[in-house]
């Protein structure tokens, strides 16, 4: 089955592509400066000059929405990159070297799994102070053990493969075995796992920003826009509703895309 026949993957891909485009082109598409305060436009309803209306400070919601997409995706990609580097490195070392290193890394992962994720994030935010750094650090802290566990199990199943034995007996240096023989063979499943995680990372970032622990003013994020908007739902619902719609769309898109990719690579899972 080609990827294009998979309905979930196509819907997800279109949504993700659309939001990515908005995020990349955001600064050029935005009709206003996202920081520009305009006291005459306070809570302006959608339509006219402000297509999505304005917020409590008269800032253009559409402009903040577009820049918010950029911030959300940026944070998610940073978290993903850090998670992959730490998780894959520790997972490979843990699986290939084994012994004490393996025990230490896996116990550490167990301990992190033993905390509800938001709790760790709050601990980090308390120490580092609320902000973008706290979000990236706490989400990376929570997400690497999953990637490390997956990588370790993949490495373990490859370690006894004939071509690895052959490389060892012919005297190939360990670093080269890891980089040239093992890594290319575990890349695909790790990539799928990572793509499944993006939606949840975006959701977690939005949650932290919603609680006020994440990205700080004046930089806009959808999470913080929803928080600001929820208090005004009764009179001016447009801020919360537009930001919620954007957030839901991007998370649904990534989840559909991830589901589609998984079914495509593992057709057995989709027949269930």
């Amino acid at each position: 089955m080609t990827l294009l026949r998979n309905r979930h993957a196509v819907i997800g891909g279109v949504l993700v592509g659309f939001v990515t485009l908005l995020a990349v082109l955001g600064p050029w598409l935005a009709p206003f400066d996202y920081e520009a305060v305009d006291m005459e436009a306070v809570w302006a309803p959608p339509g006219g000059e402000h297509l999505m209306g304005a917020d409590a400070l008269g800032r253009d919601v559409l402009s903040r929405f577009l820049v918010g997409a950029r911030v959300s995706l940026g944070v998610a990609l940073s978290v993903l990159a850090i998670t992959l580097v730490i998780g894959v490195t520790l997972g490979v070392v843990s699986g290939y070297v084994g012994g004490l290193v393996d025990t230490l890394v896996m116990r550490l992962a167990d301990i992190i799994f033993a905390f509800p994720e938001l709790i760790l994030a709050i601990l980090v935010a308390a120490v580092l102070g609320p902000g973008k750094l706290a979000v990236v650090v706490s989400l990376a802290l929570v997400w690497w053990p999953g990637i490390a566990r997956l990588t370790r199990s993949l490495v373990l199943s490859l370690k006894s493969a004939l071509f690895v034995d052959a490389a060892i007996t012919s005297g190939t240096p360990t670093a080269r075995i890891l980089l040239q023989h093992i890594l290319p063979n575990i890349a695909a499943p790790i990539a799928v796992r990572a793509s499944l995680g993006v939606g949840f990372i975006i959701m977690a970032e939005a949650t932290l920003s919603f609680l006020g622990l994440g990205v700080q003013e004046p930089e806009p994020t959808w999470g913080a826009m929803i928080r600001d908007g929820i208090g005004a739902l009764r009179t001016d619902p447009h801020l919360a509703l537009f930001a919620s719609l954007g957030l839901a769309t991007v998370v649904i898109g990534f989840n559909f895309l991830g589901d589609g990719l998984r079914d495509w690579l593992d057709p057995k899972a989709s027949s269930r």
Binding site: A125, V127, A243
Partner: protein
Amino acid sequence: MHHVSLRAATLRAVWRFAFRRVFGIVLVLFVAVVLTFGALQYVPGDPILILLGDQSGDVELEARLRAEYGLDRPLTEQFVSYLGGVLRGDFGLSFRFASTPVKDVLATGLAISPVLALVALVLSVPLGIGLGTFAARRKGTLADSLTMFVLVLGISIPNFALASFLVYLFAVRVPLLPVAGWGTPAQAVLPLVLLIVPAMVYIGRLTRTYLLEVLQEDYIRTARAKGLREHLVIYRHALRNTLVPLSTSIGIIFGGLLSGTFVVETIFNIPGLGSLAIQSVFARDYPVVMAVVLLYTLFYSLINLGVDLLYGVLDPRIRLSS
């Protein structure tokens, strides 16, 4: 004779298993105590100076507060007394409310948040199983596709985004429910719904997957072949066997619900532990933040322990093999 020794061996295995789990939890809680204590040392700002505020020149008062909060003692001594205090349920003094024990600050929230999470858990399990069974029995039909679509939506929409839609619909457009607040049953409806939806949807998806797997087993074919009515096949044979793998997810779901209380309490101004922890981060009342971190880790660990033990009870194979 043989049976007796087998049962004794089984019992020993169960005890060994339980002991290992309890030891694991003690280790996690100890790590949590070390982490929170360490975090308290690294948080920005001197709490005593913040407490002093306008009276920051008063050297005598400063020395007295430092002594009262135990901050004049060596670090190791502070740690031992912190650990000892935590074991007795004493989390020290609040930085925001001078000379007030943290446990008094927590009291109100402690009666709200865990209860909210538990009620949501108890309600979402049967709802989720029902939804998943509904979809699985109609696999491949339009009803199944629609249910699955709703389930994916439910898992993808963050609960605070869902909150803005629901509050707008049911409290603003059609004013059936209060917008926020805490104390009356009506005020608990929207918070509970928001907690239940993600949990229910998660359980629903798992139930559908597990049930479809179990329905392909030989004993299901046997049950059908001997003419057993379909609902008996589902409820007596299939569903019971999906409960075993489902029970392992209860811990994750409860963890999600605990996190959910932070969001829901913030939205609806509920004076629970979650909103208290967030306010305390901003008020730099770190002892309160750390106490909530410890308590939530404890709740999470206890639920996971309960699930592990339950798992052994539900599935005799696990009991015997471990």
